[in-house]
């Protein structure tokens, strides 16, 4: 059957018509592409206007068009517009093709003759292609109303609560023994200096007791299968060696445990915990966890002090890891960040020079519940520093480490300056490259710290050393810096240095991304669907990213993003079903030889090999439509809708004007 094609060339005011002779293009198409099936070619001032759309709709109805080509702007702008118009006129929307003669022709070329010639080629390509287009229908899948939230920091807690409050069930998975995340380690939050625990704890408790939230701490997701609306998730619930039914959280086991261990996680290495422990007093849930690696019983086979003293008999040394299988419709990833390892900046001496601290160490040092009960002292545990240097941008905005700005470090540095000043009266120096205090009430805080008398040196610190050059420097840490405002090199001796370390992606972000089928940017943060217009969704439908997993951000932004993701999840749940783009690959099992070459190609696990039939199958719901397997199949057994071989080959021929030549007999 020969198709009846209509070609519509848009002037876009003078945007296209200024450079491309649109009348010539339309006439040419009508004349030269007639054999291809073009029965009408029109030009119009604004095709995307309602009048322009009506023109197309009218022709579809009256001329019986079976294919439409609109030569206008980029398909990313108006493909939907014209497809909807076609749909309104009763034509399958996927039988419409856009020829981009604005972004690809009129705006980027100046010679009218050349631009017109190229526009003709682009139209010719689109006409050839559209003939090979096939009607497609969106794919509808039902949505499981349950949601998985991975990560129990503030972003994850917020997200879980929003969904749970709306009446839907949430599984909140956290790999540490308690939810709370980094925020639970902080003393004060900028710029209001609210006590971090005071504002976080109620949220934690709410999440821990919410009837719609199943809290799974000390647990990790190990496998994700399925697709939007129908994810099947496997979660490893690590053995706590505590019977949660019996445990009352009284804490006697921790008291009696004889094994002291440096707490690298919660106390950032500055404090100790026991081998059986809850990371902090307000932990949710309040059940302790037995640290198998350090527990004397597990190492030597004797001890069991905790068991002897537990009043409810909740200690269970025989507990095993448990695998839980749950089905959810949507997944929110709130996996957070790692602190930049300041040892990498060896010239700042962290790890070599005792009185150089990281930001997280300082948070613990200044925390009333921390190892020094909030006393800001040197590593000897007693000396109060008289001079403190705070170095900004450690590991951030630095070609040697991370190129990006970690967003929070300026404000964090200011907060530290305030705390040091307030608690010790020490002289505080801030060494910064640029002071970045965007957002509400942040710059006011900067002004406040300035007024408190903190000293600011604008310049990148070259090194922190204990190699003194004179008596004044002896026994102290010397900060060597180029003061760019004073225009000279300075050596400032201090007693304590705090490195405002940047944030970086979790060490296992890549693997986690792979597990959930989402990608990481070059820096390693999870990639959002659109950096501006869709910063919470990902390329994988039904998977959302919130908080620092997506990029460095402060608490308000993390909370906002957590809530935003919940709105998206609720939107999906309430729609009850989801429409998937019909750009999918499928296998012709008659042609498939079962060579399994495509099997390793799909990062979305959409390709499975049916061992019994020795053929490969593609799950259309999992398929994201990239087409890699289509291009890879050595037997040509895989085809892809929307971007089929026939369509692309036809478009190549069209662009090369091969369709103008006589058809071979």
């Amino acid at each position: 059957m020969t198709e009846r094609v209509g070609v519509y060339v848009c002037h876009c005011g003078s945007n296209i018509a200024g450079t491309v002779d649109v009348v010539d293009v339309a006439n040419w198409a009508a004349e030269k592409l007639g054999r291809q099936g073009v029965i009408i070619a029109r030009e119009y001032k604004f095709m995307c206007s309602s009048l322009g759309q009506e023109l197309i709709e009218k022709d579809i109805k009256e001329l019986g068009l079976t294919r439409v080509v609109v030569a206008a702007c980029s398909p990313h702008l108006h493909e939907k517009t014209f497809r909807t118009a076609a749909k309104n006129a009763g034509l399958n929307p996927y039988l419409v093709e856009l020829a981009s003669i604005r972004e690809q022709v009129s705006w980027v070329h100046s010679d009218k003759a050349v631009a017109t010639a190229k526009a003709k080629a682009v139209v010719s390509g689109a006409v050839s292609r559209v003939i090979e287009n096939r009607p497609l229908e969106e794919i509808k899948v039902p949505i499981n109303p349950n949601t998985l939230v991975v990560g129990g920091g503030i972003a994850g807690i917020q997200s879980a609560l929003e969904i749970a409050n709306a009446g839907f069930h949430v599984y909140l998975v956290e790999r540490e023994p308690s939810i709370g995340g980094h925020m639970a380690q902080f003393d004060k939050t900028f710029p209001t200096l609210d006590c971090s625990a005071c504002i976080l704890t109620p949220r934690m408790v709410e999440a821990g007791t919410h009837p719609n939230i199943t809290l799974l701490t000390w647990s990790e997701v190990t496998n994700v299968a399925g697709y939007v609306g129908n994810f099947h998730v496997t979660i490893k619930k690590k053995a706590r060696f505590i019977n949660e039914e019996l445990c009352t959280g009284c804490g006697i086991c921790q008291e009696k445990c004889p094994k002291k261990v440096i707490d690298d996680v919660y106390e950032a290495g500055l404090g100790y915990r026991k081998a059986v422990y809850t990371p902090f007093a307000q932990a949710v849930p309040n059940f302790p966890v037995m640290d198998k690696e350090n527990c004397t019983y597990f190492i030597k086979g004797t001890c069991k002090a905790c068991e002897k003293f537990c009043p409810t008999g909740a200690i269970d040394f025989n507990q095993q890891d448990e695998m839980l299988h749950i089905d959810v419709g949507n997944i929110v990833l709130a996996t957070g960040y790692d602190l930049f390892d300041a040892r990498r900046v060896s010239n700042y001496g962290y790890g070599r020079l005792p009185n150089v601290f990281t930001s997280l160490e300082f948070e613990r040092l200044s925390n009333a519940a921390g190892p020094t009960a909030g006393n800001i002292v040197l590593r000897d545990g007693k000396t109060v520093p008289k001079n403190v240097g705070i170095i900004h941008c450690v590991g951030s905005r630095d070609k040697n480490f991370n190129n990006y700005c970690s967003v929070i470090c300026c404000m964090q540095g200011l907060k530290f300056a305030h705390l040091v000043h307030e608690r010790t009266g020490a002289t505080v120096y801030n060494f910064y490259i640029d002071m970045r205090t965007a957002y509400k009430a942040y710059d006011e805080f900067y002004q406040r710290v300035l007024e408190e008398g903190t000293l600011f040196v604008r310049g990148k610190v070259a090194e922190v050393t204990d190699a003194a050059r004179n008596e004044r420097e002896k026994g102290r840490l010397i900060i060597q810096v180029e003061d760019t405002l004073a225009g000279k090199q300075r050596r400032i001796p201090v007693d304590m240095v705090i490195l405002s370390s940047g944030l970086q992606p979790r060490a296992d972000a890549k693997e986690v991304g792979k597990l959930f089928g989402i990608s990481c940017s070059m820096d390693g943060w999870f990639t959002e669907k659109h950096p501006k217009l869709d910063p919470v969704a990902t390329m994988t439908e039904g998977i959302y990213i919130v908080g620092c997993a997506q990029g460095p951000k402060d608490i308000p932004s993390s909370v906002a993003q957590g809530a935003a993701a919940s709105a998206r999840v609720l939107d999906k749940i309430l729609q009850k079903e989801v429409a998937l783009e019909p750009i999918k690959a499928s296998v012709d099992s008659a042609l498939c030889s079962g060579c399994r070459i495509c099997n390793g190609l799909c990062p979305f696990n959409a390709i499975t090999f049916i061992e019994d039939d020795k053929v490969t199958e593609i799950n259309p719901a999992l398929c994201q439509g990239c087409g890699t397997c289509v291009a890879a199949c050595p037997a040509g057994a895989i085809s892809g809708t929307g971007f089929s071989n026939e369509q692309i080959i036809a478009q190549i021929d069209g662009l090369m004007m091969k369709n103008l030549e006589p058809v071979e007999a």
Partner: protein
């Protein structure tokens, strides 16, 4: 203008990065060489070597393949697969007497409109330097043609 050779080039772009880069170049009104005609694919991983061969046999003087930067693929890692194909394809083309420079793989993110424009112009210049690919006339379309060898020596075949 001048009689300089104007190559025809087919460009394959990824829907998520390089096609958007070309949109961005357009929005920013960056001028670049008009010789490249683009085809949008969902991913550089969709690029079947057949497309390149078809474009060349249709008379294109060069083929430009563009995709997301390594590690930034919207489909996680499919651009690596495009890279692997591209490298083998180039080797095969070399055996067919086609200069490897005629087929080029360029990474361009959605934000790199300027890079897209610059790379396009640079590639057009490279191909221009190489001259037309100039396949001979296709015999299959002229079924009566027959090629005669001129004896390079007038010496006779011994009886």
């Amino acid at each position: 203008m001048t009689d300089q050779f104007e190559p025809t080039i087919i460009g394959f772009t990824c829907n998520w990065c390089s096609y958007r880069a070309s949109d961005l170049a357009g929005t920013a009104r960056m001028k670049y060489a008009p010789n490249v005609r683009l085809i949008r694919l969902m991913c550089s991983g969709r690029l079947d070597p057949t497309f390149v061969l078809r474009a060349l046999s249709d008379g294109a003087d060069g083929v430009m393949i563009t995709g997301c930067h390594p590690g930034e693929c919207h489909y996680i890692e499919q651009n690596y697969k495009a890279l692997r194909r591209y490298l083998l394809l180039k080797r095969v083309l070399a055996g067919m007497g086609i200069e490897p420079e005629r087929v080029k793989l360029v990474w361009a993110s959605a934000a790199e409109g300027a890079k897209f424009a610059a790379e396009t112009t640079a590639f057009v210049e490279e191909v221009r330097k190489l001259g037309p690919l100039s396949w001979g006339k296709d015999e299959s379309q002229d079924k009566h043609s027959s090629f005669i060898i001129q004896p390079s020596s007038e010496k006779e075949v011994p009886a």
